[in-house]
């Protein structure tokens, strides 16, 4: 019997997550084996079933009032069949033995009919090799009054920063995602993935000038990460207010190619857009990425080593296993300037004759997996950050960014600064209005001439979109200098 919905008070996740799915949907390993058998009835290479249960909560404040309290339960399962380069996928949010069988029959229609029915023996469920986010279930989401009170404190903190803060929008989101993967290789893997975030946006007004500032943070943490002695949530409130006030004085941004210094942390979105997407296995197998034939080639200056690491404890982009059940790992993409690796899911790894790298991710059971990033960052260099800024006579110093985007095929990428300053004579000058930076992925990192020692990962609010699927990711960067990238301001 379904015991259904999350009660308003914290639920306790079973110590054995696969049991949760078996109990909830009336399944057992035998049903999964026979469903996988149905999926493989035609001439297929591989089949898997992905189960998901996601309970998420969000509370939002605006104009000093908590205006929204949301709760959502998403659950469902998808059956996937791979045959050569073909993928068949069928999913439903109604989960039953009968539905799974129908889905398996639909998914295998892509394979040639002359297969032989094979028996599947699922091994005893494996525990992921690492436990990167051991958060007790009751510690993820706290009772609603606690979350409401936190938002009210954020509101007071931001308004108290400066009387020119006219509105504060803040939200706290908590999520618990349970996944179970069973596949035709006999693997049965489950994971429980907590996710916490807080976002704050402030509107500052001074006469006719109006500006905004944003900050936030999170990760696979307990709720206490936001409060407690560190009061991290209040820090994000002050940061959003500070950025809005700084931007009130922003002058027009310059236009044209110039030297740019990127600050540590979130500006790592440079790596995500300029190289990360271009190194995803699907685009490279298909030959549609600007990086397709560059393995082993120099694509960055010797100062650059770029890593994608899904195994950093508690990070937003980390996972014990990816959404195909493969354990995540630390993958070197660029080593001292040379391209050494791509990001792979099972399909693309098999088709290109390499091992999966633990990067097969999906937004939910409504999607089949794709090669995706986890936490993407550049290793620290040796310069002091102040020296990197001091080395620039005229240029731009950008410390905060909004989103970015890339055209995989021609390699052109953009990312938009939301807090930036002019550098004049080696000193940080006036703040400038937000501007988009545009460059070419395969050559922008070759122009990096200084890398500082201050590697920092972002605060944990990044979301990456690909083919309509959003997944949580992280980025990181030390302060660095790019000798020439186009800055899209208005002052020609």
């Amino acid at each position: 019997m379904n015991t259904s919905l999350d009660p308003p008070e914290p639920r306790t996740t079973p110590a054995v997550p696969e049991r949760f799915f078996f109990d909830r949907f009336g399944l057992d390993p035998g049903t999964l084996e026979s469903t996988l058998g149905t999926a493989l009835a035609r001439r297929a290479d591989f089949a898997d079933i992905f189960f998901e249960f996601r309970s998420s909560d969000s509370v939002s404040l605006d104009e000093g009032l908590v205006k929204k309290a949301n709760h959502s339960i998403v659950q469902g399962a998808g059956v996937r069949v791979l045959a050569g380069e073909k993928t068949g996928y069928a999913y439903s949010d109604e989960v039953s033995v009968e539905r799974l069988r129908v889905a398996a029959r639909h998914a295998c229609a892509i394979a040639a009919a002359d297969g032989i029915e094979r028996g599947i023996d699922l091994r005893a469920p494996g525990r992921p090799g690492h436990d990167l986010y051991p958060v007790p279930s009751g510690e993820i989401r706290r009772p609603l009054p606690e979350r409401v009170e936190l938002l009210q404190r954020i509101d007071r903190e931001a308004r108290g920063f400066d009387p020119r803060i006219r509105n504060v929008m803040a939200s706290v989101g908590t999520e618990e995602r349970l996944v179970l993967v069973a596949n035709s290789a006999g693997e049965l893997v489950a994971d429980v993935q907590p996710l916490l975030r807080v976002n704050v946006t402030c509107i500052a007004e001074d006469g006719t000038r109006r500006q905004q500032g944003s900050a936030g943070g999170g990760g696979r943490h307990a709720f206490s990460w936001l409060v407690g002695d560190t009061e991290r949530a209040l820090g994000f409130a002050r940061e959003a207010a500070r950025q809005a006030i700084v931007n009130l004085d922003a002058v027009d941004a310059p236009a044209g190619q110039m030297t740019v210094v990127l600050g540590a942390g979130w500006p790592g979105i440079l790596l995500h857009e300029a190289v990360g997407h271009g190194l995803e296995g699907d685009f490279n197998r298909k030959g549609t990425s600007a990086f397709a034939k560059l393995l082993g080639e120099r694509v960055a200056s010797e100062l650059c080593t770029v890593i994608d690491d899904g195994t950093i404890a508690s990070r937003r982009g980390s996972l014990n296993v990816d959404d195909e059940g493969t354990p995540t790992r630390r993958n070197v993409l660029i080593e001292k300037g040379r391209l050494v690796g791509y990001l792979q899911d099972r399909l693309n790894a098999r088709l290109t004759g390499v091992a999966p790298t633990g990067n097969g991710r999906r937004e939910s059971f409504m999607n089949y997996p794709l090669p995706r990033m986890t936490n993407t960052f550049m290793l620290a260099g040796e310069d002091a950050p102040e020296d990197v800024i001091r080395s620039v006579d005229r240029g731009l110093y950008a410390v905060a960014f909004g989103g970015g985007q890339v055209d995989i095929t021609n390699g052109k990428f953009v990312f938009s600064a939301s807090e930036a300053y002019l550098i004049e004579g080696g000193r940080i000058g006036r703040p400038v209005k937000g501007a988009t930076l545009i460059g070419n992925g395969p050559d922008v990192l070759t122009r990096i001439s200084r890398v500082a020692s201050d590697l920092k990962l972002d605060d944990g609010i990044g979301t990456c979109g690909k083919d309509g699927q959003s997944v949580p990711v992280g980025v990181g960067l030390p302060t660095l200098r790019i000798d020439g990238i186009t800055v899209g301001g208005t002052r020609a």
């Binding site: 308003p8 309290a69 709760h71 993928t87 409401v148 509107i203 545009i438 899209g488 208005t490």
Partner: protein, 442 residues
């Protein structure tokens, strides 16, 4: 189902509530390099409930539709609403505003849902083949995909209102890759319609996609300068989208809009008229009632350059002292918020070719990238690609540049409006010429 959940919420102590139930089925199939690549089938059902306890409210959604689960779900939402601080503005819309009829808006055409899997694959195959065969420089492909979907949306509230509508959608796209001298460029084209019979011919979509990829070959940056900019209809639609976001209720009471306090003011050139029409026949965003049961309608937002109306839901309207415009959008588990429906910048009289001919030196923009738009100030800076114009003719493709300005100056600087409005997406615009913007490049 909805009557049951509304009743359960009332029993649990809700003073008011409304609920939505959305069911959908979709299928898609794609080919790449003439072989089947992906086939996806889906089925979804979701229940959403919003409850008021006095002036406090909460919303939730679930896919667990088991009998006792729904009862418990309703009780949980009521409990949440009881904890949230009362908001003096909250409440359901006035009964007199609710849709009294569910007119036929030509948004449901199930005929196309019966097509066989082979027929669907054939459309994708034909579309991609037309792209691959159109020129030897088409060297690769991201594939072509056909998809069909149907959905039903039911709404009920504790004020006794209950209604339902159905819709269908059919989409076909192709994304070939052109190559020359080691450089590659992708191009894509698509069509999406409520009725399969109205979908653009598969070969024509494939050929257009190929032409869009081919014309980008050899692209290069241009020097930093200020010039006139022509936006093709796809790029122009994104400008209309920025206006739409700025005139939706939430952006106004939160003070996050560059169009704040400008009702009655000339915010654009007199050539610009923008209309939101929730009842457009066959419209991709048409629906008989909004996410609160309020009848949808046609609203002139900007008339000959003058801002005439915002787009509002019940809450935003109450906050601003205005009346709802029937623009409440509602994702199943969320509280409603104002959003555009079919939002079009109406066609002018100038043929697009004449607009290009009028430019001595400038950029014709065919694609924009990134998120460099500040909604609060209207400051605009985005990556752009397109074609360079000299003496009224296209001379070479352009890439790796940005265009920048301020949205208010851009809207007021619209010098010409094309006659080529084609509602391929719910937010649409014809070719537009803006007198001057800054290009940053080499």
């Amino acid at each position: 189902m909805l009557a049951r959940v509304v009743e359960a919420a009332r029993r649990a102590g809700a003073t008011d509530c409304d609920a939505v139930f959305v069911e959908g089925e979709a299928s898609s199939c794609s080919v790449r390099l003439r072989e089947v690549e992906n086939v996806v089938l889906s089925r979804e059902r979701r229940l959403g409930l919003r409850c008021f306890v006095g002036r406090g409210s909460a919303a939730a959604s679930t896919a667990d539709l088991d009998g006792t689960a729904v009862e418990r779900f309703a009780a949980d939402v009521v409990a949440m609403a009881g904890v949230v601080a009362p908001d003096p503005t909250g409440g359901l819309p006035d009964v007199s505003l609710l849709a009294r009829d569910v007119p036929d808006l030509a948004i449901h055409d199930p005929a196309g849902l019966d097509t066989s899997p082979e027929e669907r694959l054939e459309r994708a195959r034909t579309c991609e083949a037309a792209a691959l065969d159109s020129d030897p420089r088409i060297v690769n492909s991201e594939g072509a995909e056909f998809s069909a979907r149907s959905s039903s949306v039911a709404y009920a509230s504790s004020r006794g209102f209950a209604a339902e509508y159905r819709g269908t959608g059919y989409t076909l796209w192709a994304a070939p890759v052109a190559g020359s001298g080691g450089a590659m460029q992708s191009g894509s084209w698509y069509d999406t319609r409520r009725s399969l019979a109205r979908l653009e011919d598969a070969e024509s979509i494939g050929r257009t996609a190929a032409a869009r990829a081919l014309r980008r070959l050899g692209a290069r940056p241009v020097p930093t300068q200020e010039v006139p900019i022509v936006f093709d209809p796809q790029a122009a639609a994104s400008l209309a989208g920025h206006v739409a976001s700025a005139i939706c209720g939430g952006a106004l009471y939160r003070r996050t809009s560059f169009l704040l306090d400008r009702l009655g003011e000339a915010i654009a050139s007199p050539l610009v008229t923008l209309v939101d029409d929730g009842r457009l026949c066959g419209g991709l965003a048409s629906r008989p009632f909004d996410g609160e049961g309020v009848a949808t309608r046609r609203t002139t937002v900007v008339e000959a350059g003058v801002l005439r109306s915002y787009l509002l839901d019940t809450y935003a309207a109450a906050r601003l002292g205005l009346a709802t415009t029937g623009n409440a959008a509602r994702s199943v588990g969320d509280v409603p918020g104002a959003s555009p429906t079919n939002f079009h910048l109406l066609a002018g009289t100038t043929p697009a070719a004449d607009i290009v001919r009028s430019v001595e030196r400038g950029l014709y923009v065919t694609s924009l990238s990134g998120f460099g738009v500040n909604p609060v100030t209207g400051d605009y800076s985005r990556g752009a690609a397109g074609l360079w114009i000299e003496r009224g003719e296209f001379v070479h493709p352009v890439e790796e540049v940005t265009i920048a300005g301020n949205l208010l100056d851009m809207l007021r600087g619209i010098e010409m409006v094309g006659d080529d409005l084609e509602p391929r997406s719910s937010i649409a615009a014809p070719t537009l010429k803006i007198s001057r913007m800054t290009i940053a490049g080499r």
